[in-house]
Structures are given as C-alpha cells and as structure tokens.
C-alpha cells in the first residue's frame, strides 16, 4: 500500500515540529526517515500511524484520505523505539494480542491464532521462547518480539521508530541486515526512523533526509550520498571539506583556488561555500591548473584500508581532510610536513545563504 504525505504541518506548543512536509512512499518500498534528533522524523512517523493528528495537511493510504481515521482502523504495524512490549504477558500473548482484541465476528479461532503466533515466532527466530516474559529476553530478542507483534495483525504498512536505537553495535548490524531480508520476503511498505546515516544508507530503498521540520532531500542512498541537494545533506552524510569564498557569474574563487560553477552562472558576486568529500580530493606533486591549491601535510592516519591525511592550506591556513586508498598513498609516498598540491575532483558550490 502506498503512502502519501501531503503538506503536513504540526506544532507542539510553540515548537514547530513539521513545516509543510510532503513525502511519497510507493507500495512495497523500505524508506528511511533520516535526520538529527529533533528534526521531526518521529513526529512524522507518528502522524502516519495516527498517533498524532497534523495541524494541517493530509495522509493518504493507497490514494484514500486517512487523516481523520482512528489509529485502530489504519491497519499499521508500529514498532516503538523502546519496544513497548506488554510486560505482564508472555512472548506468545504479546504477539497474539492484536488478534485477540478483534471483535468476536472477525476474531480467528484459538487454534488459528496459536498457529499464526508460532509461525511468526519462527519468522523472527525466537523458537522455544513463547512462554518467556519480556524481562527474560535480550534487547535484540525484544525487538524481534515487537516486530512479530506488529506483523501479527497483517498490517499493510509497517512503521518502525528508531528500531535499532537501543541495541549495541554488533546486534544492530545483524538485525538491520535481517530486517532488510525480511522486507524483501514480505514486501510490506515500511518506513523506519533513524538518526544513523550508515543504517539508513545500508538498509533503505530510499532515504528521506529531514532537518528542522522540513525535507531536505529524498532519493536512493547512492543518489543522496553522491548528489546532495543542500549543504545540510552534504554535512549530514559523511565527512566534507568546506571552502569559503565568493562566486561570480559561474566562477567561484576560494582563496587561491578557482572552480568553475556553470550552474551558478546567473549569480552575481555573492559569498559561497564549496563542499568536497575527503575522497574527492586529489593529491598531486605538480601544479596542474588553477583549481589546485598548495597545502602542507600535517598528519597521516594510515590504519585500515583507507588512509586519512590532514592538510593545511598554504593560502588560508584552513584544515582539510583527504582520503586515499592504501595503494594511492603508497604510490605518492607522502611524508608529514611535505608540501603538495590539492585539487578537488568533484565538488559542489552553494551560495552562502545558509547558516550551518
């Protein structure tokens, strides 16, 4: 079932959590709502579920307006950040809850419920734990019970709030791969909220990046990582070097560095910031053109497959970071203190009307 979020605005007291947010989620996709804490991603998820009502805008499930519909009728599965398992019920009863509370007419028989619950317990790999209480389970196991409980009502939409937030790094990695496989198996339209960019980029089909109550960019993980639409996205996804300067009619000048920016040809002399990822900085022993800048090597961190090099620009004395493969590093044979030329292979210049 597709979900369409249209122009949602929501404030809590004086705080505006969401400002005119629109998102499209096609049927069967796994979407990540990614952003720093307080960006409104959880509020949006809760509004989709029906746990909060928007001040303005509407939510459409499969084209039908569901904004005014009660949570109970929306047929969503919701996995809470802290699982919200029923403490006084066993794993079995937790998973069976959604089926047991159905009105008598639509409630399956006891045997059918039991079969269904055991099938779900198998699906989330908790065989033999049906009679345990939540307090007797580990974090990862609780998370899977919460997921099974949400899936028991056969939701058409699965919503997960920071599903791996409370788990340690190891379990997290394992569970998110498992979630991806599960989604490929079940194909339920799913939305999960996270502040972890790595998690979002690894698991989701598409990522919606939010900041300060607005959508900054939506796209596939490759798309948002390789072609960030805003300075915020550049900053939020991975490391980035900033070059401050001015842009004038398609030509950006940042210290001694000159970059051509045809997309900004119409901009008259304005302050601008260039964004370059560390792995998009080319280090050269010879001067090639005016996009190069001279810099001194300050530190070399050569642990692991990627070598990180800290550089100090010769013109502005600002610090930059470059990333090289071990091969490239060995070919260059860099030494600390050496002077070298740095040229951005790939860059993006934004007119500086953002404050970051």
């Amino acid at each position: 079932m597709s979900i369409e979020v249209r122009n949602i605005t929501k404030s809590f007291g004086g705080f505006t959590a969401l400002k005119d947010v629109s998102v499209n989620i096609p049927t069967g996709e796994l979407i990540a709502l990614l952003g720093p804490s307080g960006c409104g991603k959880t509020s949006l998820l809760r509004i989709i579920a029906g746990l909060e009502t928007p001040d303005q805008g509407s939510i459409h499930f499969h084209g039908a307006d569901t904004t005014g519909r009660d949570v109970r009728e929306r047929k969503v599965g919701f996995v809470f950040q802290h699982y919200a398992l029923f403490k006084h019920m066993t794993v079995f009863d937790n998973i069976a809850f959604g089926l047991q509370v159905r009105p008598r007419k639509t409630r399956p028989s006891k045997n059918i419920i039991a079969d269904k619950v055991h099938e779900l317990i198998r699906l989330v790999q908790l065989e033999g734990m049906a009679d345990r209480y939540p307090s007797q389970l580990s974090g990862g196991q609780r998370q899977r019970v919460a997921l099974a409980r949400a899936l028991a009502v056969e939701p058409q939409v699965l919503l997960l709030d920071e599903p791996f937030g409370a788990l340690d790094a190891r379990v997290r990695q394992e569970l998110r791969r498992w979630l991806r496989r599960l989604h490929d198996e079940l194909h339920i339209t799913s939305v999960f909220v996270t502040h972890d960019q790595e998690e979002a980029l690894e698991v989701a089909d598409r990522v919606v990046i939010m900041n300060a109550g607005q959508v900054e960019q939506a796209g596939t993980p490759e798309d948002v990582y390789d072609h960030p639409a805003t300075p915020f996205v550049y900053n939020f996804l991975g490391n980035v070097n900033l070059f401050h300067g001015r842009v004038d009619q398609g030509q950006a000048k940042m210290g001694a560095m000159e970059l051509s920016t045809p997309e900004l040809a119409a901009v008259p002399d304005r302050p601008a910031v260039g964004y370059v990822r560390p792995h998009d900085l080319e280090l050269e022993r010879t001067y090639s053109d005016s996009s190069s800048v001279e810099a001194a090597v300050r530190h070399i961190h050569a642990v692991g497959p990627i070598v990180r090099i800290e550089l100090e620009r010769g013109d502005t004395f600002e610090t930059m970071e470059a990333e090289l493969t071990k091969d490239a590093y060995q070919k260059l044979a860099l030494l600390v203190g050496e002077r070298i030329f740095v040229r951005p292979r790939k860059y993006r210049v934004f007119v500086d009307d953002y404050q970051i």
Binding site: A49, G50, L51, V71, R72, V76, G77, F78, F80, H82, A84, L85, F86, K87, H88, F97, G98, V101, R102, Y133, S135, R149, A150, A152, V153
Partner: protein, 290 residues
C-alpha cells in the same frame, strides 16, 4: 517505591564496607530506632490489648457483642464499603487522566487531590456541616425534602470519602507517569478499544499499586475520627462509628469496653501493616522483573 529505594541503598551500603559507619554507631542508631518504635508503637498497642482483656476474655467478648458496639462496627463497615470503592474509581480515573493526558489545569487537579491531606479533618467535617447543616447553604432545601445528611449516615460517608480520597490517586499517579503511555499506544495501534486497553494493558500494570492504595484508604476510612466526629452527632447505636464509640465508652469510664472496641482498630492496623508489606514486596519483585 520509597521502601524499595531504602532497601537497595541498605544493600549497597553493607556490600561496600568503606562507606558504612563504625559498628558502635550502627548499633546505637538501630537501638535508638527500636526503642522509639517500642515506646510509641508497641507499648501502646500492648496496652490496648492488656486493658481490653483486664477483666478476662468473657468481658472482652461481651463488650464487643453489646448492641451499640455491633451497630458501630456495622456502620464502620458500611462506611468503608461505600467510600473505598468510590475512591478506588475516583483514584483510578483521576490518575489515568493526569498521567496519560496533557490538559490545561492538570497541575491544579493534582493540587486539588492533595487538599484533604493538607486540611485538618475537623475542618473538612465542618465544611459539610456548613453545606448541609440546618443553618447551612443547602440545609433548608434538604429539610424541605426530608433528606438528612448531617448527623446521619450519609454525612459520615461523605466526610470519610473526602478525607480518604487522595490515597488511591496519590499512589497511582507517580506509578502511571513512570510507566508512560507506550504500552497503551501499542495496544491501540494493534486495534484494541479503550476499554480493552484499560483491562488488558493498563490495569495489570497498576494492580499492585491499586491494592496498596486501597489498603491505606481502607485503614483510614475505618479509623477516621475528626471529620466523622463533627458530622455524626454521636447518636449511640445509629451514627457512631468504631472510633466514636470508643470515645464515648472511654468518657463513661468504661475502660474495658473502650479498649475492647479499640482493639478491633488495633487488629485492623496489624492486618493493614502485614498486607501493606506484602504488597510492597510484590511491587518490588514486579519492578525487579522489568
């Protein structure tokens, strides 16, 4: 709960020797506490029972079987049987709304619930006299319709309800607030109705808290003296509760009977303490399991 907190700190202290006081200081403190406890709690309780049994068990039983005493016991039971369930409902409803919803006037409501704790019971009794008494605001109307509240059973029940209404709510509000509303939201998303959510999710989580509040509420409802004394009118055999009956007997120098009836309240206190400790122990184990 408070008691749980004290116990864990005690455990921590004894396991970390460098933090404990010297043995002598410890013994002195414990001894002081025990002496106080004995002087102010155990000795009076023992005195009550020894006075009651002074003229033998026959006299003790006779004092309890006397018609006026039986009437006082019956009235106390009726009062508790009406006011405790009402305060249970009131307490759960108000704790539910305060803990699970945000609405204007929420903190004012919390203050209001505490009012009976901060007002002297005699004053609360007087308020009812002013409201429903012959010279009171509603007095003439009540008299015209032949409804008797003051110096009658309804007044006693009203005063008891007023004095005891914070017990259940006060116990539940912090408990429900600490539990948050995640589980209720989960139940709703899964399709449970409001009533199903309450019975299947909320109630099991607060049942020991409720029981705790009910035990304290009941003890106070049966033992309340001040407020009830003002509105009762002390009519022997009809508007006397156990505490009032004790006072009358005592004023008549009928010590054996006075202490015999008082021993009932003493036993209630012991039963309450035992039940309270059991519930506290249950709450601790339930909390520990989480």
């Amino acid at each position: 709960m408070n008691v749980a907190g004290v116990l864990t700190t005690k455990k921590e202290l004894s396991s970390r020797n460098e933090l404990t006081e010297p043995l002598l200081v410890r013994w002195l403190l414990i001894a002081a506490a025990l002496v106080f406890l004995g002087l102010f709690l155990l000795v009076p309780l023992a005195a009550v029972f020894s006075q009651a049994l002074e003229k033998g068990f026959e006299a003790y039983l006779a004092a309890l079987k006397e018609p006026d005493a039986l009437a006082a016991i019956r009235l106390t039971l009726i009062t508790a049987a009406i006011s405790v369930p009402l305060n249970l409902i009131f307490g759960v409803v108000s704790a539910w709304s305060i803990a699970k919803f945000d609405f204007p006037g929420r903190s004012f409501l919390i203050t209001l619930i505490d009012l009976p704790f901060s007002v002297s019971p005699v004053i609360s009794g007087l308020i009812y006299v002013l409201l429903f008494g012959l010279q009171g605001w509603l007095g003439p109307w009540l008299q015209a319709h032949d409804i008797k509240i003051i110096f009658a059973v309804p007044g006693i029940i009203l005063a008891t309800i007023f004095v005891t209404f914070p017990f259940v709510a006060r116990e539940l509000i912090p408990l429900m607030e600490s539990q948050g509303k995640d589980e209720e939201e989960a139940a709703r998303v899964l399709g449970a109705s409001g009533l199903q959510t309450f019975w299947r999710v909320t109630l099991p989580n607060i049942r020991w808290g409720i029981l705790y509040g009910v035990i304290l509420c009941n003890a106070r409802a049966m033992g309340e003296f001040g407020a009830v004394s003002v509105v009762s009118g002390h009519v022997r055999g009809s508007t006397n509760t156990i505490p009032l009956h004790v006072e009358i007997l005592y004023n008549e120098y009928n010590y054996v009977a006075a202490f015999a009836v008082a021993s009932l309240l003493g036993m209630l206190a012991i039963v309450t303490l035992v039940a309270k400790s059991f519930v506290e122990w249950r709450i601790r184990t339930v909390k520990g399991e989480e």
